[in-house]
């Protein structure tokens, strides 16, 4: 009875097609959901972050936005009784600390990458690559603990020899050291990829022209890989700007004033968000969303600036 067979076959095909459509819809939905989270995050931080500026904050009155962004005292008056919050000084400290961390981590990271990719004998570069991968996989809280247990002590002793009274070692220097340690693996692994993908012909050309190995490495290889290396720097600075728990353990919680003295205590935007989180409510809690909003804007603007610089200098293309 060929007729029923055909019918069953047709029904089967129709069912299969329906299942296909349903599954495709589900897959599409999961992709859309995943992509929508970035919009949700930005939206929710904007809404929650702006709330303290436009609502009455349970009788405390709205926070002044301009004052919040430019002022140099975290809170004038008492907690729960004042709306005079500002993070201006923390914005400056955050950028200053990120810049110093990059200044320290960038050369070390790039040179390590050069060593692994071009100079070291194979077994050694294998070992170093594993070291870098391990460092990259260590969670930030462990770096914070290390900073708190070792680096603070070193900084404390250092400031004692200079006759400077530091807050138990909590200082800009300690934060910078912790952040550099954390960003070295990021910078190294991305730079290494860029360095390894430099065209062999360029290197051979340089050697043939009589340049020494080292000259070639520094003047040709690094220069050709500069676009990728710059990307590494951008990611490194991103990690430094956004790091929270590790920084909060070594920053010292400065409540007011910008200080560029390396041994002074400090506050970054992220450490302010974590300060006193265990025992607070009301505006003192909600204001953390505003700090988060400022942090997002700072990171966004930094990325924009760095990417603009990268486009201007990155004329040599790397495959």
């Amino acid at each position: 009875m060929p007729n029923t067979n055909v019918l069953i076959h047709k029904q089967n095909t129709a069912r299969k097609r329906r299942v296909d459509q349903i599954m495709k819809a589900i897959f599409t939905f999961t992709a859309l959901l995943s992509a929508s989270f970035i919009i949700i995050i930005v939206g929710i931080i904007f809404v929650q972050g702006f709330r303290p500026f436009i609502t009455d904050n349970h009788g405390l009155g709205p926070v002044n936005l301009w004052r919040f962004v430019t002022g140099d005292v975290w809170l004038i008056g008492n907690t729960f009784a004042s709306n005079l919050y500002s993070v201006g000084y923390a914005i400056v400290s955050t950028l200053f600390i990120a810049f110093l961390s990059l200044l320290l981590a960038f050369p070390i990271g790039v040179l390590t990458a050069l060593f692994i990719a071009k100079i070291a004998p194979k077994p050694l570069s294998k070992v170093l690559r594993t070291v870098i991968e391990t460092l990259a996989s260590i969670p930030s809280i462990v770096y914070g603990l290390f900073g708190s247990g070792v680096i603070l002590q070193i900084v404390y002793d250092l400031s004692a020899t200079f006759g400077y009274q530091s807050k138990g070692g909590n200082s800009i220097l300690a934060v910078v050291l912790v952040l550099s340690l954390m960003s070295i693996p990021t910078i190294t692994s991305i730079s290494e990829v860029a360095i390894r993908s430099v065209d062999k012909a360029i290197i051979h050309g340089s050697l043939a022209l009589g340049a020494s190995q080292t000259q070639t490495h520094f003047k040709v290889v690094l220069a050709s890989a500069k676009s990728g290396i710059f990307t590494a720097a951008i990611l490194g600075i991103g990690r430094a700007l956004g790091e929270a728990t590790a920084v909060s353990l070594v920053a010292g919680g400065r409540r007011s004033g910008v200080s560029f003295h390396l041994l002074d205590s400090t506050s970054t935007l992220t450490s302010l968000m974590l300060e006193g989180i265990k025992e607070t409510t009301g505006l003192d809690y909600d204001i953390r969303f505003s700090v988060g909003l400022v942090l997002m804007v700072v990171i966004f603007l930094t990325n924009l600036t760095l990417n603009a610089i990268k486009r201007r200098i990155g004329t040599v293309h790397v495959k």
Binding site: K16, T28, T30, A35, S140, L145, L274
Partner: protein, 407 residues
């Protein structure tokens, strides 16, 4: 010319030296970090740490009437600083608990000691067995000053020897264990993967199998990629603003809980899972798909029975990567789950993960570096093992792929 070459040589030597030096910064840093964790944390690393509660339970008890005094010698060799009372058959020692506080620990109780089983003066009916890892807080007598733990073990033993009766004594179980935070971390791993894997793998399948290259698809990809650049503390704020209220309204939770933490972690992990899964889907040869379709399978069957099994090693390493991130994540969880260290863990109750446990202790006064280092040691051990497994997986997978290509 000669002079020039010499300058070049000196320059080269200088540059080489700084290159060598900087490469060993990372090696040195890793060694120092691991050394620090070991030196501070290794002595607390024992089975008690993992099985004990963080908070200690206190007991108040007295001696059962008409139990004879012991007047016996210890049956085991006691250590140097252990003080023994022959009258009561108990040995005490000065020690530090897991939180680093000075305590008087019970070292040994003789089989015939009147203190072996004591009468619970609290709500308990059962007699309490005095265990050898309990901390003695105070022993009060009928006509003698109370012996307090802060005067040390020797003082307590002297007081015991001077008295024939005990009015009451107070002791507690050892605290400072991390059992609760371990359970929370395991719950977090389970729920996060439960939320993140289906969504992540689904999205990867859509992007690799169904999406046509278009501006729309590129936009989707960019949106997902951008998630990787968001700092984790911002994810924490998002969890606090969306997932905490969501779980509070749907369950009996009152604040941050394991579910809200897991949802937040799931969002953090999505881009990682999607990228890793997609990479493993990409290496599945198109021939497989076409063969399956030609045999009459539909797209769904092809995806689930042909493509996904071939991509399994990739999905497995995505899962392991995700577990490593869950174990190490701290900033987001401070907001999304909270910092209260608990012993009795429920999915909707307050508790905290191992990483936040460290943070909570380090921001307390005084900071507990020893226990933090021990937990950090455990966390680092887990992440290193996971990384190793991922590496082995990917190299073996790669070898098999290459081997297949050569045949």
């Amino acid at each position: 010319m000669l002079n020039n070459r010499r300058i070049t040589k000196i320059k080269d030597f200088f540059l080489q030296t700084i290159t060598y030096l900087s490469s060993f910064v990372s090696l040195g840093a890793l060694l120092i970090i691991v050394g620090f964790l070991f030196s501070k944390g290794i002595h607390l690393l024992n089975i008690n740490l993992i099985t004990e509660n963080y908070l200690s339970t206190g007991f108040v008890a007295d001696v059962f009437p008409d139990t004879p005094l012991c007047n016996c010698e210890p049956t085991i060799e006691l250590g140097e600083n252990v003080y023994y009372s022959p009258k009561w058959g108990i040995a005490l020692v000065d020690s530090k608990d897991l939180l680093g506080k000075n305590v008087v620990e019970i070292e040994y109780v003789h089989a015939n000691s009147p203190l072996r089983q004591v009468n619970d003066k609290g709500i308990g009916i059962e007699p309490i067995r005095l265990r050898t890892d309990y901390d003695m807080i105070r022993i009060a007598f009928d006509a003698y000053p109370t012996a307090l733990s802060r005067f040390g073990a020797q003082n307590m033993i002297q007081a015991l020897e001077a008295n024939n009766t005990i009015r009451e004594m107070e002791f507690q179980t050892t605290g400072g264990g991390i059992r609760g935070s371990i359970i929370t971390t395991l719950y977090l791993i389970f729920f996060t993967l439960l939320f993140a894997l289906p969504i992540g793998i689904g999205a990867a399948i859509y992007l690799n199998e169904f999406a046509k290259p278009s501006r729309w698809t590129r936009l989707l990809r960019t949106a997902i990629e951008t998630l990787t650049g968001v700092p984790s503390i911002i994810y924490g704020l998002m969890g606090l603003a969306i997932f905490v209220p969501l779980t509070v309204s749907l369950t009996d939770a009152t604040g941050g809980n394991i579910l809200s933490g897991a949802m937040t972690l799931a969002v953090i992990l999505l881009p990682i899972i999607i990228r890793t899964t997609e990479e493993s889907l990409k290496v599945v040869p198109d021939d497989f798909r076409q063969a399956s379709l030609a045999l009459g399978a539909n797209a769904t069957q092809t995806t689930f029975k042909v493509v996904l099994p071939s991509a399994f090693p990739g999905i497995l390493s995505a899962t392991l990567l995700a577990i490593g991130r869950i174990v190490g994540e701290s900033a987001a969880l401070v907001f999304a789950i909270g910092t209260s260290i608990k012993d009795h863990i429920t999915v909707t109750g307050k508790s905290t993960s191992l990483a936040v446990h460290i943070w909570a202790m380090m921001t307390d006064e005084p900071a507990n570096i020893e226990l933090s280092a021990t937990i950090a040691l455990i966390i680092v051990f887990i992440t290193v093992i996971l990384n190793l497994v991922i590496k082995i997986l990917s190299t073996r997978y790669l070898k098999r792929k290459l081997g297949g290509a050569h045949e």
